[in-house]
């Protein structure tokens, strides 16, 4: 409320006073966050309100900043993967794969086709998991809990697939330089097939619940819109940009990991509002399923990792019997894996947009500088602009549909 401690020189204090003098009406300050269940993460917004309408907002971020870029300068390359997990923890495997691909670009490693297809499958599963969370939680924020509980079972199924592949569920730390740590078990493939069979019916039902639901449409159409031009200037990428009508997708613009082998559409919206963001994500889930099916059908035979003994841990049984394997094992475990001096930037299409890794190496065992281009961080700055003039409850829906992940925002 307006008696919230605010220094008198703060611009909101001046605005409140000015309005009071103008027509006697009272503006108020509302502190949204940092730990509010509706913000889905830890960020604070100080809102200047006229009744229920937002006049202005000021965001504070950084509550869970963990200095990943600094830590990355002090760790061997393979120990950086767990850091990437913890950025967008809703789609951790995309971050992992993006990091491996960055390193492979720096080292000029060509990975086998099979690995690329496996990566595509796991990245698309992660995208589905990410979109499940975003869209179902948007339902919750507009008052529909059922859909959320219903589709969350299927996020669980995706986590079981991760578990089968790498042993972990949320922060996966999946893969190695050049491929995967082990081949996928038949059980993993079986789980993926089961998921592909069962999930479409569930997702159709979820869409039926919300897409043409009058209440949901009233709560989301024209809520938190952004024009294509502005979205571009604000550095939007991913579904949020596509909802505004620009068909920019890294998977199509700069195909990595053999995305050029698959047929899929890039869904776009029109008005860039909450409803369009919802619809674009819904459509992207179908495209992801399409890609996974194609990748499974076309999955080539071959090794599950590239032949790069300098960077890829040898099988444990060889370490006990084979001299070279022992040496490589020792070197890799002790972090003696220098990367030649170079600079690379590698973008991947993350759950929320272009996730980029800018790596500078100087020939030593750690990164000289590693910068993460975190899509959330870049587009969250538009939030206050988007909710100006909207109702408070619309701001919550907008925030939810932007899918801002605090872990990624704060690095």
């Amino acid at each position: 409320m307006s008696d919230l401690l605010l220094p008198p020189e703060h611009r909101y204090a001046k605005m409140i006073e000015q309005k009071q003098n103008e027509d006697g009406s009272e503006l108020s300050i509302l502190n949204l966050g940092p730990t509010h269940p509706a913000t889905h993460g830890i960020f604070q917004n100080i809102l200047l309100m006229d009744g229920e309408r937002i006049l202005d907002g000021e965001g504070t971020v950084g509550y869970i900043h963990r200095a990943f870029e600094k830590i990355a300068e002090n760790r061997p390359f393979y120990q950086i993967t767990p850091l990437t997990d913890r950025m967008n923890y809703c789609s951790a495997p995309i971050n992992n794969m993006g990091w491996w691909m960055t390193l492979e670009k720096a080292l000029d490693i060509e990975v086998p086709k099979r690995v690329q297809y496996m990566r595509v499958i796991i990245m698309e599963l992660a995208r589905i998991a990410d979109h499940i969370i975003c869209n179902s939680v948007l339902g919750v924020d507009t008052g529909a809990l059922t859909g959320f509980l219903y589709v969350f079972q299927y996020r669980e199924k995706i986590y079981e697939i991760y578990e089968e592949i790498c042993g972990a569920r949320l922060t996966t730390n999946m893969g190695r330089i050049g491929g995967f740590e082990r081949d996928w078990s038949p059980a993993a493939f079986k789980k993926i097939h089961t998921f592909l069979e069962e999930f479409p019916a569930i997702w159709t039902e979820f869409e039926n619940l919300l897409t043409r639901n009058r209440i949901f449409m009233d709560r989301t159409i024209n809520v938190g819109p952004i024009s294509a031009e502005k979205a571009m200037s604000y550095g939007f990428t991913g579904p949020n940009l596509r909802a505004a009508g620009i068909d920019y997708d890294v998977r199509v613009m700069q195909p990595y990991s053999s995305y050029e082998d698959f047929e899929f559409d890039v869904p776009v919206g029109k008005s860039g509002d909450t409803y369009d963001r919802f619809c674009v994500r819904n459509a992207e889930v179908w495209e992801s399923l399409k890609i996974i099916r194609q990748a499974l059908d076309k999955m080539p035979e071959g090794p599950y990792h590239a032949n790069v003994p300098d960077y890829y841990l040898p099988p444990k049984e060889e370490v006990y019997t084979n001299m070279e394997a022992l040496i490589y094992h020792f070197k890799i475990v002790m972090g003696e894996v220098p990367v030649p001096k170079t600079e690379v930037y590698h973008p991947v299409e993350g759950g929320n947009g272009e996730l980029g890794f800018y790596l500078i190496t100087d020939g030593s065992r750690t990164a000289y500088r590693l910068h993460f281009r975190r899509p959330c961080f870049i587009y969250y700055q538009a939030f206050n602009d988007m909710v100006k003039g909207q109702m408070l409850s619309d701001a919550i829906a907008t925030l939810s549909s932007l899918n801002v992940i605090a872990g990624e925002l704060d690095a």
Binding site: V61, G62, H65, A67, E69, K70, I71, E73, N74, K105, A106, K230, M232, S233, Y234, G235, I246, Y248, M253, Q254, M334, G335, T342, E343, V344, Y345, P347, E354, G356, Y358, I360, Y368, R369, H371, R373, F377, I378, Y379, Y380, Q381, A382, D410, A411
Partner: protein, 176 residues
């Protein structure tokens, strides 16, 4: 029709002469250097030129090079992307180590706002003309710039943790 890197180079050198230099292709990216006093003009030119059309500022970040000569101890790195021809470029602006200052890119791209605040927060690089240059991820009371190389990652006074055996810091007590 794809935009050739030679065209980019010719256009830039034609317009800015020796303010742009060191054109080189590193892996899949065309890169160059821009003199720190003409950053804003170069970026505006890249964005608005009808042929170059670099319409998207992908990324802004800083780098610290404490071992360089004093005029080149900091760098701001910009990634730009032309979505029409699908060409990416990267350019660096080297800055003075004592007094790192460069023009803000916020007049060309709104997305530069927070990215420059982040760079300021971690490196202490001043962006002239930035509307609200203050810390973003660290707390406002902080006085140092943690991504500078001289800033130790861990508190040197810690006694509960001895890193000597793990090949990281030689001795915790000698770290500043």
């Amino acid at each position: 029709m794809a935009l050739e890197t030679t065209v980019i180079q010719d256009k830039l050198t034609g317009q800015f002469g020796d303010k742009v230099s060191d054109f080189i292709q590193i892996k899949d990216m065309f890169t160059f250097e821009v003199a720190s006093d003409s950053l804003s003009e170069v970026m505006g030119f890249l964005k608005n030129d009808p042929l170059l059309r670099f319409n998207f500022l992908t990324d802004v970040c800083g780098v610290h090079y404490p071992d360089n000569e004093v005029d080149r101890q900091f760098a701001t790195v910009y990634h730009m992307h032309n979505w029409y021809d699908n060409v990416r470029i990267r350019f660096k602006c080297y800055l003075n180590g004592e007094n790192p200052e460069v023009a803000s890119a916020t007049e060309h791209f709104l997305s530069a706002n927070w990215q420059e605040r982040e760079t300021y927060d971690f490196f202490g690089i001043i962006f002239k003309g930035h509307p609200q240059l203050k810390r973003i991820l660290n707390m406002d009371e902080m006085i140092s710039f943690p991504m500078r190389k001289e800033f130790p990652m861990e508190d040197g006074g810690r006694t509960d943790k001895d890193d000597r055996f793990f090949g990281r810091t030689p001795d915790n007590s000698t770290v500043k």
